[in-house]
């Protein structure tokens, strides 16, 4: 291959922080499925085919974004490159950013032991990032089978890493029927986060989400080792921006899976909860990223089969406060 051949994909970002923030939200699987399209890169994480998280990095997040897809056999539609990379490694690489600052801070902390380490994670007013001397992050995928190269440049230090790419497993998306929605709720993502935080102390295993036409509209409930907890919106209908529902809907999910999405709940501004008639739950998060852009994170969850846990579900329901 000659050097003048354009790489399949090349993207440059001058503010890699949003990339890190978004990708961290789906950091629950070892490997993440990457698909490169003209509009952006799609990272999909999958957990045992019952939970799926997708982060889509729109090309507007990058300052330069070029693709050069090889044409398929018939010479018509280009084939989107598909591969897998280890996500945690990728995140670690992105974290190199700011490490110059971190080193400076660590040095400062050494010199001044009385400096509180309280909120140390906060960027200081004099970090490179705050001062507008950001680094750049270049992602390069030369051709199929090549490693996914990430080059970070910051304060004159250049780090190049090459991530091995793996053959795509091509997991199918969890089937979610957009045309057969039972309910759709849009609310502040923070509220959902608070609801989850409220029931965490109960040590739940299973989270039951119930949407009803009438009060209490939406209930999250669980039973754990030290008791049961539930959060409802009986008095808080105003918190639900959009509330459309066809019929009563109640499904139970593994709490740990839902909790994997809590990072997304934390950084997002809005969330759209949707449930289809099969019980699949879709959580779509709208994240406001730096520069007034918006990105979306998409989670899907498969419920517990309702026939084999009917008893417990009844139990939770019967415990719901009047």
């Amino acid at each position: 291959m000659a050097a003048e051949v354009k790489p399949v994909f090349r993207a440059v970002s001058t503010s890699p922080r949003p990339l890190y923030q978004l990708l961290r939200c789906i950091d629950f699987a070892q490997r993440v499925h990457v698909q490169i399209t003209e509009d952006g890169i799609r990272f999909a994480a999958d957990n045992s085919r019952v939970m799926q998280g997708v982060a889509f990095l729109d090309k507007t997040l990058f300052s330069a974004y070029t693709v050069n897809f090889p044409l398929s056999e018939d010479g018509e539609t280009p084939e989107y490159p598909n591969f897998q990379i280890p996500l945690s490694t990728f995140l670690e690489i992105l974290q190199i950013f700011g490490s110059v600052d971190m080193a400076a801070r660590a040095q400062k902390a050494d010199q001044d032991p009385y400096r509180s380490n309280f909120r140390n994670y906060r960027p200081s007013a004099f970090s490179n990032q705050t001062l507008g001397i950001p680094g750049t992050c270049t992602m390069l995928y030369a051709e199929e089978g090549d490693p996914f190269k990430v080059t970070l440049e910051e304060s004159g230090i250049k780090t190049t890493s090459a991530l091995s790419t793996y053959l795509p497993e091509m997991p199918e998306d969890i089937p979610f029927d957009r045309n057969d929605l039972t309910f759709k709720i849009i609310m502040s993502s923070r509220t959902l986060f608070d609801c989850i935080a409220e029931i965490i102390p109960a040590g739940p295993v299973k989270l039951t989400i119930t949407a009803t036409k009438t009060s209490p509209f939406l209930t999250l409930s669980c039973a754990g080792d030290i008791g049961s907890s539930s959060v409802d919106f009986a008095r808080g209908k105003d918190l639900l921006e959009t509330f459309t529902i066809n019929e009563r809907w109640s499904q139970a999910y593994k709490f740990d899976f839902i909790r994997h999405a809590s990072e997304a709940m934390r950084i997002a501004s809005k969330v759209s909860l949707r449930g289809d008639s099969q019980g699949v739950l879709s959580l779509q998060f709208m994240v406001d990223v730096e520069g007034g852009k918006r990105s979306f994170l998409d989670f899907r969850f498969v419920p517990f089969a309702s026939h084999d846990d009917g008893d417990e579900e009844d139990d939770v329901e019967s415990e719901a406060y009047d």
Binding site: A202, G227, Y321
Partner: protein, 437 residues
């Protein structure tokens, strides 16, 4: 059917949280006891050496309080719950607070609690927290119906007492290091000494085998009111005291401590806004030489003059205390003594001690600490029992820098540094010791 329903305001939730936090430092379980007109939270630690109780004024503390006892709970309802579960309900939601700019000052609108029990009903403590933003969280915790154990304190027998601002006391207690176990409270003329020390060794390699030994002398002027026998050493667990002072400092009111002799419980009480708190903690320690002499500063009420007769009877009581075993006889409350028991367990180094350990031994080790006295190596050798209550022998031992088990006690005394503030009296005491011994 709800046996009990009440409503807490946000401040009530905070007060509940503070109380539960304090209780959780004593035990894992909390007992709730409710009557028509009273509500108690209490706990006793597993070694039964400390008891804590909080009494809430039902009319003022609760927004609404309704007791509908039926059946076995006609008069009062009681149950026991896991503190951690309960405390998590009333935990601080500051995380929510810091993020939503809109309503920073308050998150919780109110908290409705219902305790349900009865035939055919699950025993549940149901807390319904209504947030300002409209969310409603309902938590249901199971509980066990069990009779709470209350410790009793006989105020008539508490000869000595002092009261001090809780904030002042907390500031004092804050000085004491984390590795310490015991707090010795004793008086010395115009000063009250708070000495914090530990009996356990950190590691065998260290030169200073015991962690920091901190002593603070407080002028009696700091106390609102004090009436304590001079040189009476009372030793309590610092962990308990710390838990108490932390909570007391929140209320900001004066703490009153009442106690009599070592091995008898000490009562610490204070009141907050619509809460009254009482703690009973077990003591060890020992008496100084002068039962008649009192450190006193009374603002109200006359001093208790009739105490001397009781003081005379004391050597006997002390003796039982010094044996350090769990003698049930002298305790007013059904409290065993953790503190008494632990110093009495011989440390490894004491295996060579004389085969006739006198009752003196455990107390000497537990309390051989005075202001300015570094108790690196308390003497393993007890002095003759006859000198027990008259001499200031403890002070002497405490300054022994190196222990030598073969030396006899009198020699020990002379080899030590004299740290006493009164250089004249010290040799006299030794002479006294020698003549008597």
């Amino acid at each position: 059917m709800a046996v009990l329903t009440f409503t807490l305001s946000e401040e009530g939730v905070t007060a509940f949280r503070d109380a539960l936090n304090c209780l959780s430092k004593f035990s894992e379980d909390v007992s709730i006891e409710a009557r028509k007109d009273s509500f108690f939270l209490s706990t006793m630690n597993t070694s039964k050496s400390a008891y804590a109780s909080f009494r809430f004024a039902t009319s003022r503390f609760f927004g609404r309080y309704q007791y509908q006892g039926t059946g076995p709970f006609q008069e009062k309802f009681f149950c026991s719950m896991y503190i951690r579960g309960l405390a998590s309900l009333f935990r601080s939601r500051s995380g929510v607070e810091s993020r939503s700019e809109g309503d920073k000052q308050s998150i919780i609108d109110r908290c409705d609690v219902a305790i349900e029990d009865g035939e055919g009903i699950k025993s549940r403590f149901i807390a319904r927290i209504i947030f300002r933003n409209g969310l409603t969280a309902t938590h249901r915790l199971p509980f066990e119906v069990s009779m709470p154990v209350h410790a009793k304190f006989n105020k008539q027998e508490a000869l000595y007492h002092w009261s001090i601002s809780s904030r002042t006391l907390k500031q004092l207690v804050d000085h004491f290091g984390p590795g310490t176990e015991y707090l010795d409270i004793n008086t010395d003329g115009d000063h009250v000494n708070f000495t914090c020390f530990s009996e356990k060794t950190i590691s065998d390699d260290a030169v200073l085998k015991k962690p920091l030994h901190t002593s603070i002398a407080v002028e009696t002027d700091e106390f609102d009111d004090i009436d304590v026998e001079d040189k009476l050493q009372i030793v309590v667990s610092i962990k308990d005291v710390r838990a108490i002072t932390q909570h007391a400092a929140i209320t900001g009111n004066a703490i009153v401590a009442r106690y009599s002799l070592p091995a008898k419980p000490m009562q610490i009480s204070y009141s907050g806004d619509a809460i009254s708190c009482e703690f009973l903690i077990m003591t060890v320690g020992e008496r100084g030489g002068n039962p008649e002499k009192r450190t006193k500063k009374v603002r109200k009420g006359a001093a208790n003059k009739g105490s001397n007769s009781i003081s005379k009877a004391m050597p006997h009581l002390e003796e039982t205390s010094r044996r350090g075993s769990s003698t049930p006889s002298q305790t007013m409350a059904d409290i065993q003594r953790k503190q008494a028991a632990s110093p009495s367990m011989p440390p490894p180094s004491s295996s060579r001690q004389p085969p006739n350990p006198t009752p003196r031994l455990s107390a000497a080790r537990a309390s051989a600490s005075r202001i300015g006295a570094f108790d690196f190596r308390p003497s393993q050798r007890p002095p003759p029992p006859t000198l027990r209550s008259e001499s200031l022998f403890v002070e002497d031992e405490a300054w022994e820098p190196v222990r030598d088990d073969d030396e006899d006690a009198d020699e020990d005394a002379r080899l030590e540094w004299d740290h006493s503030a009164d250089p004249v009296s010290f040799p006299l005491q030794i002479v006294e010791i020698m003549t008597r011994g």
